[in-house]
Subunit: 239 residues, 6 copies
């Protein structure tokens, strides 16, 4: 089987990361994976939500698609007065993933909100948001250290996300939209720099899948995530 863009089965799409795309944000990047473009901005606020333990910080994420991110225009959430259920699901995944990267005691009593806005969506937007969101978060923490607000880096791990899937009975890494829409099985995986799992979400869209198939997909993701984490190290530098 040849992939629509000629890639090898275990190859990532070309990735391009423009840091500081939004100069006002404490940390930001525009992450492009193939035709997928996500703008990730990390904002620091000197307060925490009420449920957070005394002295600790908080990290949270919001995810949204611009109305013309897809092949068809969608109505804005505010027009329907409802956060899309898909966005709600995705931003919870991103938030959990990014919190796993941070020592919330070292962060201190402040909140970092990572906004992931999909400018163009061609598959893999949730995992691109995890990877781009991590970079924005890490840059914001570097800035807090450079400004002397923090003395120790609260980021304790590099974190990245990627998807894999079974399309026409072949396991493929990093599905683009055309592949994703035909996938029988779809799996998203977030790992840290030990290549240990933070989040794993697998769905049998067209059929159920065996435990062996699930393992194959996790190994594919692991390969991709090793590459992505190298990329993050180049961009963000040492923690």
């Amino acid at each position: 089987m040849t992939r629509v863009d000629g890639r090898h089965e275990d190859a990532l799409r070309p990735i391009r990361i423009t840091t500081d795309f939004i100069e006002f944000a404490e940390g930001s990047c525009l992450i492009e994976c193939g035709s997928t473009k996500v703008l990730c901005c990390a904002s620091v606020e000197e307060r925490v939500p009420p449920h957070v333990a005394e002295g600790c910080g908080w990290v949270t994420a919001e995810y949204s698609m611009l109305p013309r991110a897809n092949r068809q225009r969608s109505r804005r959430d505010i027009d329907k007065l409802k956060l899309s259920g898909r966005s709600a699901e995705i931003q919870r995944l991103i938030g959990r993933s990014l919190r796993a990267a941070v020592d919330r005691e070292k962060l201190g009593p402040r909140t970092i909100t990572v906004d992931c806005d999909v400018l163009q969506g061609d598959g893999g937007t949730r995992t691109a948001s995890v990877t781009g969101g991590f970079i924005a978060l890490a840059l914001a923490c570097k800035k807090l250290m450079a400004e002397g607000i923090l003395t120790e880096n609260p980021v304790k791990h590099y974190v990245a996300g990627i998807s894999a899937g079974i399309v026409g009975e072949t396991a493929l890494l990093d599905l683009c939209y055309e592949e994703d829409s035909r996938a029988e099985v779809d799996l998203n995986c977030v790992m840290d720099d030990n290549l240990a799992i933070i989040e794993l979400q697998g769905t049998g869209e067209g059929r159920s899948f065996t435990v062996d198939e699930q393992q194959t997909l996790v190994q594919l993701c692991r390969k991709g995530l090793a590459e992505l984490i190298e990329k993050e190290k180049e961009i963000v530098g040492e923690l």
Copy 2:
């Protein structure tokens, strides 16, 4: 380690299923797993949403917690004018799981909505909803066949869900709330009667986890799901 309720590490909580709890619904049950109580009702409507292919049916789910399902009262969604993000995430999981059980062509142009309302929540409400929701769905389809509306059963597989987790470095099946709130790793799994995976969601709440740990948890779930599917067969009968 002894579990809070004295159970073995790979034991399910006592399960009790009262079918036809709501006599007006096409299919319904009250499912109780330990102290967790979820009311599941399947409603059949003779129309489908616009995105469904001509001639096919649709299966969807809604999940909600009553305000006093938990140890503290929570405000109702309508009071906040927002569907809880957690509910949005969970009902998408239930919907995907139940759609995997059904041949939507055999269902024909009708929608089955499965409402899962948590009367009391003591851990595992999302997977209890999948299991109870499946039973309500299967009973509703049996009713459509008994009434001659359908001639073939659109339910093609038994489907059930369960959770497992790592608590104090021990892998445990079917966490209750007290265990769940201390878990380092939490994994929810939905399988069909081939014990193949439909949905898999794993989260490192306190730490990341290895691929091996992930496999241990899947195997624990698999053991529990085999028991649950036997229970479903007793209640629902042959497909």
Copy 3:
């Protein structure tokens, strides 16, 4: 005229009350009147809304129908982003009725919220909510006394509700849905243990009604309420 279920004109439907149905709530019961099933939970919170006088407590109620409580499924309020007008009207009635049962000075600066969730509705859900809600409230106050939080019982009266109506020119007590949908006149009445009126709501659905007819309906309700209050005394015990 024979009633649909063979009852005498001034007979209540069989009533079944399961207390402590929700173990987490300070007080709770599942009240079943014929096929009507309402889950009532009383929750105590150590704060009061701003409009309440210094030192006094507050009692309020929320009423909702689960989507499949009726013969047809209804959309959830949160799906429409609007509290149903009928629910708004009913929960105000329940709240006023339950506040009349309580000495708010003796309650002290705390709020008791009584959630009445209709699991199945076959007529008379608002008055079943008053009766079941009273029991949940009284049980919660007993618990506050048992825990030493209160020394005097703030519940000063037993309170219960019932409906009566004119169907085919006959006055009937405690209408079920089938009777209610054919009623010309419908009257809901809440009384205390002196059989004095707390709330009275009469509506000419099909025609206007005379003052004499109104009195007949009040006397029917009074007979039913005397029985219900006896039942409450058995369940709740002395105030």
Copy 4:
């Protein structure tokens, strides 16, 4: 006891009705009862909501208070994104009352919406809305007849509303705000031109009340309603 405005116990407040206050509406009036001012507009639309039987019409009402109708400014419903529960309760009462005035078959497949907007509220706004709303409705139907759209008047009865209450153990007709805020018992009554009851709502605000007291209040209302219906006949003319 002398009343705050020197009225006799069974006297109405001075009433002033300005018809056609809004020239664009099919029927309208500004009704003033003492300092209470309600603008009532009836709008005719050539369609009916889906639940209405083939060939029949529909009558509905909406009730709202302008933000500065009261002694303190209140936030608008749209600012809170919630219809006030009190408004929901009241507009349901007005709608039921006005539907009782109309033969919906004679109205034909059209909807009359009666908007009751309280410009200034000094007690009795819901019953002033019923009376003023009836006049707007009757004027709109006259207009439909004058225009030849209807040949028979669908208004079959004059309908009016009034309140009575027990203040300091004295039964008083037509409470103003100052009396209403001190009332122990409050009763609203809507009758037709046979002085038969359409709606009756009594509430023990400060204490429960006997069946005899309830009857005294109904008789007070009946006296006031006889006067109001005479006034309506003068303004609207023959049906």
Copy 5:
């Protein structure tokens, strides 16, 4: 060209201002310009929004149309759960205009909210709201001075608004609805008592317009505003 109501091209419609229409408000008037009727109420509250500088006050406005203000009934904002975009645009204009009239330091730490509710709309409702809203505001400030709450009048300028437009290539002052709906160019202007501009909004509805045409319209408005400000001086008296 003769205007629909026979007015001269630079003539205002007959204007009628009833002050203290709402006796509960600190300041109020009903302003009628031809068939346009707007109820304006100024409410004083002893607090300011968070963005206001220490010691200063705030002035804000809300604008809304009653559902039957127009030739066709419109649904209420609360029914659609959305503030109309037109109302949002207009109330921002009114708020900016009225703030320009006031010395917010002299006002001290209090908020004046001016509610402009259109009872009947026949063109020019936004500028009638500015003029009527100014009168309500000025009356409220006079009341604060009479009560000794303020010693200096915070109102520093009279402020009024009017519209002009090009209809059939003729420039006309103070368009009524029939003219407005045929206008090629529409311009709204708010000035102070120096006849200097506070707000200017011009729109080419049917075609673009030259700088010269724009000047002609501003001069027309200026003539009308001189008259309106004289009227305000008569009603409000000296500042």
Copy 6:
């Protein structure tokens, strides 16, 4: 006076327009004016809203700021369940401006929605949205012609927007945020390729302004708009 970025008083900020930034949209550009960045996407749909005349098309705009477009993060509209009043006002301005560019009969029964999403806001976002939105719209129409869906270009005029203001008594063109926040007078102007006015909005933020001052600002805008329209001609080509 020297401007913060050293520009001449009548100079535009450096402008950069990247067309086809979003490849899925029928027309799109990223417009950057100094540090202001707005993503403009034109989407074509083959249907019109109900108020549009038979056979005609419709052009509308939506405007929104991403949460971290500004120096401080703002909450999303969907989080507050309210479209910001400022966005409502601005998107109405953009919509009217773009409709003035188009012959809606030539467009035929289709809607073009122009989404203007501010990625970074440093002043002048509304007028940048008009200019960038025009380019997206014109590119979309070119595409409809290239695909043979349209035979004549419905775009009849180039349209662009710019702001000017009085800062420290000096009239300046194209204010950046730092200038804008200190401006006494602020004026936004939209013109077509005849340099005739489509929209004009002037506000005295700190003081009222004379008719002469207003003219000075319009002439400044006119100079800037002539340059912007030349730029549009280069990018879009002939109409």
